[in-house]
Symmetry: C2
Subunit: 198 residues, 2 copies
DNA sequence: CCCTCATGTCACCTGTCGGTTACTTTCACG
DNA sequence: CGTGAAAGTAACCGACAGGTGACATGAGGG
């Protein structure tokens, strides 16, 4: 029977997401996605044209990077605007497995999903800088971009390590206690760097 | 003719290193290493037992993580000890492609090489903390471990991105200018965080 | 001189991957 | 009714991966 193409298309996309979250990006292949969906892989080619196009649909359905504009909404100082943004990134990476897996994937290869993630990330980054510079007085000696890049990259790296490798620079990012130390350090750095005043 | 097993063993290890540096970890397989060496892959099994054991030899021949003890040798303050260590890590990652590829590999899978890297890294990290705590007065409010972990992870992440993805948090780690900004920021953070005194 | 063993080559097996072709089933519409 | 297009299935293909067995060839020691 013809079970309806639209439903199957959506179920395929969902299967890909599920597979990515559960088994990581290495498990996302034509055969695996089709099997996970309980359907033949030829449908992937018929409906999407190929796996990349299917991943494009995954990208469309998902928010791959936190919207920093909302986070900095009520911030009244450079300090808290940056802290909130960085903590939002940290939390998103820690709590949203799909984002985490996409970030991990980006280190390995390029595809519509990882490119979408990169594009969203860069856009949010630009927006944050723009917003912060227009709203607050940024000391000329302070390289906000380098600051945010360095801390965000650190949080990204620490949150995307596979769970097997317990210790990472002496910390275990999977441990809530250690993760809190990292968040605290992130806040400390931004607070101290952006200066006590302003 | 028997060209000598010892020589062939070494040439196989060198071929693996060359392949890893040139084409990345995904290219390091039994077939590829044998082909790069111009020899049959069966020798890998005969001489080493398998690819993992060959990678073990690669690990033995290489320094996979900078020795932080040497870097902090002449440091007379907590500030410079940490800065020097972090900059040593940054430079090593940036200039030693084998270390960089091994670090990238660690994010994807586990093998003797990546495990060796992780082990060396953790050992150096422990040593640094031990050394720093014994040699300097570390303020009780300062979480040195989280600080170093966060910054080192950031540098690691930024230096291990594939060269294609130009922008990363608005910066291009392949650009010398941008990289200098990151190094400068690293130094600034450690300096400010460890406090002006001591 | 011949036997043995290490070195090395070649061919082959098995499994998995992405991708395609050919066939069957189902439904909608004239 | 029946015909034709869409939905779905199954079998297949070539490329490439890791891994193994059988065979040639060489040097050294009895």
């Amino acid at each position: 029977m013809a079970r309806g193409a639209d439903g199957t298309k959506e179920r395929l996309v969902e299967a890909a997401e599920r597979l990515l979250v559960r088994d990581g990006h290495r498990a996302v292949g034509v055969n695996a996605v089709a099997a996970e969906c309980g359907v033949d892989k030829v449908l992937i080619y018929r409906y999407f044209g190929g796996l990349p196009q299917l991943l494009e649909r995954v990208r469309e359905r998902q928010q791959l990077w936190p919207a920093l504009g909302e986070e900095t909404e009520g911030a009244r100082s450079l300090d808290v605007a940056l802290s909130r943004s960085l903590l939002a990134i940290a939390r998103e990476l820690r709590e949203n497995p799909l984002v985490r897996e996409a970030a991990l994937w980006e280190g390995a290869e390029s595809n519509p999903l990882t490119e979408g993630l990169a594009a969203q990330r860069e856009r949010e980054m630009d927006e944050l800088l723009e917003l912060v510079r227009s709203r607050f007085r940024v000391p000329t000696y302070l390289d906000v971009q380098a600051l945010v890049a360095l801390l965000a990259a650190g949080l990204m790296h620490l949150s995307t390590r596979p769970s097997e490798s317990a210790k990472l620079f002496g910390l275990d990012p999977n441990s809530d206690a250690d993760w809190q130390r990292l968040e605290k350090m992130t806040a400390s750095i931004t607070r101290v760097l952006t200066g006590p005043a302003d």
